[in-house]
Amino acid sequence: MNTTTEPGAPASAPPVIDKAQYGLAAFLVIAGGYVVYDAGTLDKAFADQPVQPYTLPFIIGGGLVLLGIMLAVATARGNRPEAEEGEDIDLTHGTDARTVSLLALVLVANVALIEWLGWAITGAFLFAGAATVLGSRNWVRNIAVGVVLSVASWYGFYVGLGVPIPAGILDGVL
């Protein structure tokens, strides 16, 4: 509803092509293709199933492939996405790939370690790691806040909600 357009927007310049969008189009085609392939591996339905198990997957997969092709065509014609705005978002700079990958790494570490170390430890690491990656340089405080949050949430779930989160390596300590 905010319809003020950029005053300096070039009116007649040749369309700027967002090449990354071809990647998304390819992803859609591949994903759709896989849905169709997966549907092809299904057996015929039981006698009481009027709708074949592969009917919807064929439609949905086919739709994804079609949308991928349409997106590629639209991209070539200069259709560009409106990346999402937000109060903490500054789209005037490019993507900060380093921060994103580090943050993703923190999340991956949490997934990999949680069953061994338990939430109380990985949760603290998750918070401290994410805060540090996002630019909070006071790492002592980051860890302190993380530990308080994770231990408190562990006990909060255990005592307050009666839900025992697996303690992992700290089993018996907490």
């Binding site: 509803m1 357009t5 997957p57 949905i60 978002i89």
Partner: protein, 509 residues
Amino acid sequence: MDLLLDGFATALTPENLLFATIGVLLGTAVGVLPGIGPAMTLALLLPVTYSVGADSAIIMFAGIYYGGMYGGSTTSILLNTPGESSSVITAIEGNKMAKAGRAAQALATAAIGSFVAGTIATVLLWIVTPQVADIVVTLGSPSYFALMVLALFAVTAVLGSSRLRGFIALFLGLAVGLVGTSTGQARLTFGEPLLADGIDIVVVAVALFAIGEALWVAAHMRRKPLEIIPVGQPWMSKEDWKRSWKPWLRGTAFGFPFGALPAGGAELPTFLSYATEKKLTKHPEEFGHGAIEGVAGPEAANNASAAGTLVPLLALGLPTTATAAIMLVALQGYGFQTGPTLMDDHPDLVWALLASLFVANTLLLIINLPMAPIWAKLLRIPRPYLYAGILFFASLGAYSVNFQAFDLALLLVLGVLGFFMRRFGIPVLPLIIGVILGPALEEQLTTALKISEGDVSTLWSEPVAVVVYAVMALLLVAMAVTGVRKPAAEEPSLSDTPGNNDDKELVER
């Protein structure tokens, strides 16, 4: 009526009042955080409600719901940063008012307007929902099927700026909804037994809203300090009251019917309300510079339409907004079969919810008007801690469902999807609705064809279904007509005006 009183009796026990208060506080606290809209608030706090009994959970949930809505409008007014598309309009005039030193009045008219609209809309819900439900139970599967297709179609094609991207989101959601063994055979499970039950919608929602948002913000963190307008106690002068009460009522009148349609949405009624107030106002010169009518009307419309979306949700099991989608998941999580039979099977539950909404709405006003300055302080949480905290609680919520690292991995994968959806401007709502309605659609189709013994013409054998398909055809024609003169994608502009720092504080982030 007895049912309603029973509902109130449930909602008003001291224990449940406590849960309602906790819900309102939690919902507002989370909802006021920048970058978190009402739907994300609900998704993040949903696991908390699972741990208490069903009726306490429902009233707590109602509190979170209204708290999240109110928190969202506070953020839009103070930061010009709508958390959801439905509060975009509130942000336009509300933020201008705040910048002109009238933040307290903007917050007050939003809060009281939400209360008025919420109260009227809740009463309308009491009247309308049972009647709609009575009609709905007479419908057969073909009509449900048609209504679901309409909801999917409307959410995807009518809302949002790019239809192509809307349909991309929808089909991705439908594909996610295929995962599992609901047909007796494993579909898209990649041989992973943990995927046999499908992908938990809470994981999908939390991943797309919370993880996707955090990753997206990490990629584009605003490095410059943010302006936050300090707020005192919200209050309104007699003049403000006089200028607000009519917009509140008109906004409610716009909001509820639009919300109640199975193709609802809050954008349209808030926009209509804004346009109407702009036309009717005696102070046209103030519009664009912080007119109180421009906050009062749209905010009431927003709240009334949010309540209106409960009509299709409770009577049909049909969610039309992200918030309603999470709510549907919540009801299913409490062990209730949603859909046309919900009102008959669990009248106690539905009425407890409807009464809870009323109680929560009232509590919200009592609690939040005095506490507005405190909530405003939450806007100053340093951004690294805010987003680290969002990741922390999102992971905790996803993990606490089954205690499986696998769910966290799924959360991350879908979070990365959420990141790229933001990058490519693909809306989240159609995906969520697709995940929920895809399997339901297949089920209704199966039921319909079972009864007709495979005769496809049964799909248009009911009058309601025929009408729904006609409406869709009309929408398609309308789209084709407007599509011809559809302008190129507009650049959304946030009117951050730096250099206007007299009455604002700079917050280090």
